[in-house]
């Protein structure tokens, strides 16, 4: 389990005559970086597989030349980072990279942050010995956000690598570009590696892997982040600013519950308007990968807010007569604590449909498992697991961080994965060969967990009745199989020379038909797969697997049997040696769930904080009183990794804050961040001042941001789980409450680089049958939506987004994420 710190096997290596400690099995390059030793490398990405495109990381290990990104350390390894031969290779490589590279560095968007420039200087390239005819390479827009300038591309393949190994979209690939052939004479005169590198470079260029010229990916923009040159940029950012003009403000992504570390990069809006504007979001791409909302939904600030005294007075009156405050998860821990204090002192109810179900689920889980919080986080899954299971989580939409983890485990840890979800997906099976997708019927989530218990549980530990229940699904069937058997045959041969006859025993393969008893697993069949076939693939999947992780998501919280699901999850954790992560739905849902005592119902006069209400305080700029958005205020957020992470104000805010309201009502400190130290220690928070919270990644990739929540553990008996009822399966037309990839809330919708509309998303076949516009009728209301075909969806279930709070989709769906609906063409 991840709580116990595994003692890493440290070994001693020597780099350039100095001794260092390194983790066993680590690549030389990573070991060097962790010890602050510089080895040049362009194409290698820390959390991805080595590409071996640039060959700069050439070093000598025990007298043999190896690539540091690809060779692992072992005890006593003696590494030399520079020899005359290596230096010659590196210089030649950099010269080759500079061949025909455009010299318009002055207008390049990399503006001095260019790795090509840096290494060219580092290797002291002051003359060019190689040349070749150039080919014209055109710029292209690959998607609504991606801009590619092929002329600047050095084909290091970092973009393709990160897209495949981390993001999972594999939307980019190298293609032929028809460059001129190298002069044969170079082969003899050039250093070997430089020639090989050039030969490849000269032939290739990057392009969308589906061959259409458009990526059709999740538009996360991670390829932009990793590009060492100015070849890949965001369409919005192209030529809008030099990097050096931008001020970097460390913050936390505000939309998904991953809480990625990001930097808002700000500079004045224009010559006339000197107020600052966010130009782009960057990240420490070696250690954290962002999703599209984190990277592109940055301009959701409440601009031009002023201290409106009238509105403030009205707000105070509204709070005084309010019975309920309705809010969502896009608030800081500090604000959540303010609201909770308000509840304690004034008795106002706190209503948050987004988080309430999650909070309940967490408490069911805590009661059943004895742990105050789940055990795993994205980081432990990424680094350690080799078998991941996702249940009740729309992996592509709900939690980008977990999607990356799921994918990364397949690619890097030679892992395997099971994905249980009622909505079929075309992308997830492509993550790896050992990924099995169960597209089961909505309502069978419990069956999925029972199957996991069956497959992974330590049967000894499992309660008797559960074991019996699982066994009740199994039945034996007879099956004829063809089997190859080696049969011993005795042959008599006659020796030609001597005429002696000899008996020779020979083994001859023979095929026989055999009737065998096969165990059929009813659970597998119930979940929509062939039992036999699955049993075979499962055996292959689990071989040599050691660390298992389970991700569960929002489907479980909005489920009529949420309590039983929580108990099953706890049971799995106790009996299967499995790390569990319970993905918070959005933004700071975990923080809100821990800090606030939420109520089930709103009643009476309601104040809506970024939500509907009789009086609205809002950071969206459309409320009765302005509030600062998450990029305009300091504070902490609690992310999925159970980490309390600090975020800073990127933009100015001129209006009133929630703290001002609270101060007038019940008294509060001067600054919002003075609440940080008061976060409830009983819930795992620490009494730490905001200003002392660290916010960095270290060279070895370890995360030093904020602090981890304390987890309280208690001994509890095995949770008593209930059986599931097959009859509760949903049939017919089903709507699933699920947002498109980069949308999470009104804030993402406000951002100008997020284009996903509020519409009904369906598989292509379904969308065609539905027409352009439909009315989706629920039991307690209806909603009219445009229909959009999503090629990555399979099956008939349609997705209805909830990111616009004004549409009140949460109330349409009630306490389940799947609902039977009638869909009418409009």
């Amino acid at each position: 389990m991840s709580d116990e710190k595994t003692v890493e096997n440290l070994i001693t290596i020597t780099i350039d005559g100095k001794e260092y400690k390194a983790k066993e099995g680590e690549y030389i390059l990573n070991a060097a970086r962790a010890n602050n030793v510089f080895i040049p490398a362009i194409c290698y990405l820390t959390r991805c597989s080595p590409t071996l495109a640039c060959r700069l990381c050439l070093v000598e290990a025990d007298g043999k030349q190896v690539y540091a990104c690809n060779a692992k350390v072992k005890e006593g390894l003696d590494i030399v980072t520079q020899t005359p031969n290596i230096l010659e290779e590196r210089r030649a490589i950099m010269e080759v990279y500079d061949v025909n590279h455009p010299l318009q560095c002055g207008v390049c968007d990399k503006s001095g942050e260019c790795e090509l420039q840096n290494y060219t200087l580092e290797m002291g390239v002051d003359a060019q010995h190689y040349m070749i005819t150039d080919t014209k390479r055109e710029t292209a827009n690959w998607s609504s956000v991606l801009h590619y300038d092929a002329a600047l591309c050095i084909v290091c393949e970092r973009c393709t690598t990160v897209c495949k190994d981390m993001i999972g979209d594999a939307a980019l690939t190298t293609v032929k570009r028809g460059g001129a052939d190298l002069d044969k004479a170079y082969k003899d005169t050039m250093p070997k590696d430089a020639y090989a590198m050039w030969n490849k470079l000269q032939k290739s260029v990057i392009a969308p892997s589906n061959g259409t010229g458009h990526t059709n990916c999740s538009d996360c923009g991670e390829c932009i982040a990793v590009c060492p040159v100015g070849a890949l940029t965001s369409r919005d950012f192209v030529y809008s600013s030099n990097a050096w003009e931008l001020k970097r403000i460390p913050a936390v992504s505000a939309h998904s519950s991953d809480g990625f570390q990001i930097y808002y990069e700000v500079k004045p809006t224009s010559i006339e308007d000197r107020s600052e504007k966010i130009y782009r979001v960057t990240n420490e791409w070696n250690y954290v990968s962002l999703d599209g909302s984190a990277r592109f939904a940055y301009d959701f600030e409440n601009r031009d807010a002023k201290k409106d005294k009238e509105a403030f007075k009205k707000a105070l009156d509204a709070f005084k007569k309010a019975k309920t405050i309705r809010f969502n998860s896009v608030i800081t821990n500090e604000e959540a604590l303010m609201l909770q204090t308000l509840k304690e002192k004034m008795g106002i109810k706190l209503y948050n449909p987004e988080v309430r179900a999650f909070q309940k689920f967490l408490s069911f889980y805590a009661k059943a498992s004895g742990r105050s919080l789940y055990s795993a986080d994205t980081d432990t899954i990424l680094k350690k697991s080799d078998f991941v299971i996702s249940v009740g989580l729309a992996l592509r939409n709900d939690s980008p961080g977990l999607k990356y983890a799921f994918n990364n485990v397949q690619k890097l840890n030679k892992g395997a994965g099971l994905y249980f979800h009622p909505v079929g997906d075309t992308l997830i099976p492509t993550f790896g060969k050992s990924v099995e997708c169960f597209t089961h019927k909505a309502g069978l989530e419990e069956a999925a967990l029972y199957l996991i218990l069956d497959l992974f549980a330590d049967k000894e530990k499992l309660p008797e009745e559960v074991r019996a229940y699982i066994d009740s699904f199994k039945r034996m069937t007879k099956k004829t199989v063809k089997e190859k058997v080696m049969k011993e045959v005795v042959e008599i041969t006659v020796d030609e020379e001597t005429g002696e006859s000899k008996e020779v025993k020979k083994k001859v393969p023979e095929e026989i038909e055999k009737e065998i008893e096969v165990e059929q697993n009813g659970l597998v069949e119930l979940l929509g797969k062939e039992s036999d076939a699955f049993a075979d693939t499962f055996d292959k999947m689990t071989s040599k697997k050691e660390t298992f992780s389970l991700m569960v998501g929002e489907d479980f919280y909005y489920h009529p049997k949420a309590e039983n699901l929580a108990k099953l999850v706890a049971l799995i954790e106790k009996t299967c040696h499995m790390n569990v992560v319970i993905a918070p739905p959005k933004s700071n849902a975990l923080g809100v769930a821990l800090i606030c005592d939420l109520d089930d119902k709103a009643e009476g006069y309601t104040i809506g904080y970024n939500e509907n209400g009789d009086f609205r305080i809002s950071a969206l700029g459309d409320g009765d009183l302005d509030m600062p958005a998450l990029n305009q205020q300091e504070g902490t957020l609690t992310n999925m990794s159970k980490r309390v992470v600090p975020t800073n104000a990127a933009l100015e805010y001129g209006g009133y804050e929630l703290n001002d309201v609270i101060r007038e009502l019940i008294g509060a400190p001067k600054e919002t961040v003075e609440w940080t130290v008061k976060l409830p220690v009983s819930k795992g928070f620490k009494a730490v001042e905001f200003d002392t919270l660290p916010n960095e990644y270290k060279n070895d990739g370890s995360e030093n941001r904020g602090y981890l929540l304390d987890i309280v553990m208690a001994e509890t008996p095995m949770p008593k789980v209930e059986k599931f009822n097959e009859a509760e399966v949903l049939e017919g037309e089903i709507a699933y409450r699920c947002n498109p990839g980069r949308q999470f809330s009104d804030f993402t919708d406000k951002a100008h680089e997020i284009f996903e509309p509020f519409a009904l998303y369906a598989s292509r076949a379904k969308a065609e049958s539905l027409g352009e516009k439909v009315e989706v009728v629920f039991e307690n209301g209806s909603i009219v939506l445009d229909v959009i075909a999503d090629d990555k969806i399979l099956g008939d279930i349609v997705k209805v987004p909830d990111f616009k709070s004004a549409q009140n989709v949460y109330e349409l769906f009630g306490d389940s994420r799947y609902q039977n609906v009638t869909i009418r063409k409009v």
Partner: protein, 207 residues
């Protein structure tokens, strides 16, 4: 040479030459006579003659020294750093500035500001550019750093106007397209003054 001559401070032994001074008049009438004599002797015209000679040279011989500013201006040194100019490419007439932002970066008075964008021809376009002349110290770093010889110091040193803004925008500094043939290259810091040859004098080595 010995120093005896200097050390001898005895006046009587030295060879002084006495000036042949007139007797200072003592009587009032003598004093009056002296005043009249000095007043009408004509020395006044001795001085005036110098002026007259210069006037005649200026008016009739074409040797005028005064510059009729503001109708006439002296040529200034190419090193002179006055209000900036934005130059155009001589071939195409397009402005030279590529929007690299180096001038903005190097400006020690922090007075240059620019907006750029991706234009229809896939080039970086300078959509707005301004220099705050209230802060500019005319150090010339911007012209020095410009890789395209686009921003230069012009010769416009008369900065008085109703508004500073009237010469601080890109369009104001840009060479008017119909004056493209008159556009002068900026010689820069190391430039020699025009007619420098004429002003050369021999180094006086005679002593």
């Amino acid at each position: 040479m010995g120093l005896e001559q200097f050390k001898n401070r005895n006046i009587g032994t030295q060879n002084y030459k006495m000036l042949d001074l007139e007797q200072v008049p003592t009587r009032n009438f003598d004093k009056f006579k002296q005043v009249v004599k000095r007043t009408f002797k004509g020395e006044l015209f001795v001085g005036l003659w110098v002026t007259l000679r210069a006037m005649i040279n200026a008016l009739f011989r074409g040797e005028m020294h005064a510059v009729k500013y503001p109708f006439e201006k002296l040529p200034i040194s190419p090193r002179y750093r006055a209000i900036h100019e934005m130059l155009r490419l001589l071939e195409s007439g397009h402005y030279r500035c590529i929007g690299c932002g180096l001038c903005e970066k190097i400006c020690i008075a922090n007075c240059i500001s620019m907006n750029t964008r991706y234009d229809e021809n896939q080039r970086k376009e300078v959509s707005e550019y301004t220099i705050n002349f209230g802060r500019c110290i005319f150090c010339g770093f911007c012209a020095e750093v410009c890789p395209e010889l686009a921003i230069v110091h012009g010769s416009r040193y008369e900065n008085a106007s109703e508004q500073r803004a009237s010469f601080s925008l890109f369009e104001d500094m840009l060479t008017p397209i119909d004056n493209l043939n008159l556009q002068q290259e900026y010689q820069g810091f190391g430039a020699v003054t025009p007619y420098a040859d004429d002003h050369i004098k021999k180094t006086p080595l005679a002593y």
